[in-house]
């Protein structure tokens, strides 16, 4: 089951490897670069021309706002990830924005239409991209299944395990994570209330499974998750 996880995280870097230097350059001419700092909010507004974004540096979260003004975290985007309208369909009514989590980020973007042209000219890239989107779907499906059948504690454990696997610095069974999320963020990701998340984290800390603070999370023994 968890074998799947491993290759999800190989995500998009692979995507452009099939391209030649020249091709990438061609794509890059189209791109816009943008720098932003912690806390900043970036709208990839629907009024604009549809774009696809690539996060070069840092971490951001994608937040959706529903009719009642409730905010939900849709995704955490990391260095090297693509985001935006990956389905290549214009989504008019999505109320999403990105919020910068790390100290500074660098984002570049290209026009969806240009990307489509590129895919049409590079069948093998098109295929890789198709698989990439498929992978993304599988990931969503999985967290869905997780949410449906497991309780909050299990979801938190799973989330920490995934996170550790993705970004943790491992020394033996001890794993250190740079913590750019608040407990509220974590709660939203695992779909529970902030209070419950806090409670669970403290419970873990008092059991010696964890060391939590605003800068880092140290998981003393991954195998316990």
């Amino acid at each position: 089951m968890y074998e799947d996880l491993k290759y999800w995280y190989l995500r998009d870097h692979k995507l452009f490897r099939t391209l030649s230097f020249a091709q990438i350059r061609q794509l890059c001419i189209i791109t816009g670069f943008k720098k932003a700092n912690k806390g900043e909010i970036i709208y990839f507004s629907s009024s604009d021309v549809p774009r696809i974004f690539l996060l070069k540096k840092g971490n951001i979260k994608i937040v959706a706002v529903d009719e009642e003004g409730n905010e939900t975290i849709k995704d955490i985007i990391q260095k090297g990830d693509l985001f935006g309208e990956l389905t290549l369909e214009n989504d008019f009514e999505s109320n999403e924005y990105a919020k910068v989590l790390s100290d500074d980020v660098v984002i570049c973007s290209f026009l969806m239409s240009d990307f489509e042209d590129l895919l049409l000219k590079n069948p093998s890239l098109a295929l890789s991209y198709t698989k990439f989107v498929g992978l993304k779907m599988k990931r969503i499906k999985n967290s869905y299944a997780n949410l449906v059948s497991k309780d909050a504690k299990t979801r938190l454990y799973q989330f920490l395990k995934d996170w550790a696997e993705k970004e943790g610095k491992q020394e033996g069974n001890k794993i250190t994570l740079e913590n750019y999320l608040t407990q509220t963020d974590i709660a939203q990701i695992i779909c529970t209330s902030r209070q419950t998340a806090t409670q669970l984290l403290n419970e873990m800390e008092s059991r010696g499974m964890l060391l939590y603070n605003r800068r880092e999370i140290i998981i003393t023994d991954v195998t316990q998750l």
Copy 2:
């Protein structure tokens, strides 16, 4: 299987509309054809060569079984839908099978590798396919958001509305649905217990919003959902 039959099967699928007559004829990628009856279970086993399936007639549900033997409904597949490894990645250890819901179904299939070749030769098809998968992803995301923020009643209403929209025969505000699902199925789809689903359905019936029986569901006034 006869060539012209294959041709027709592909031709009337949305996905292949971008292709010309001649192109479709060349493909001939359909390699399997299968009929099945109600209640039958179809394994699209991982031990076999990976395939993509196309449901030509009827309804089936995709069921996943986890380690503890719990069954969850992953998807309801309807006439014209593709299913199987749409991500174009082999998923070895997924414990999924399909169960036939309607009286009889017709399924045809093609090899994933053949389909990949086809995509490589037809970038525009690859693009459509990506959008197609993207659409599927968007639907999943939607039901996900629905599950997270809404209570069981709202989820049931939403489910009925979606179902009505997809398959209902409408007369004014009255909508008739052919009911090939049990209450247990419905409960699983909206992620609640069977009892809760039963209760909610009965409540709706007693309020005159609904007429439920094993063969059909009549929604007396859609606007109330």
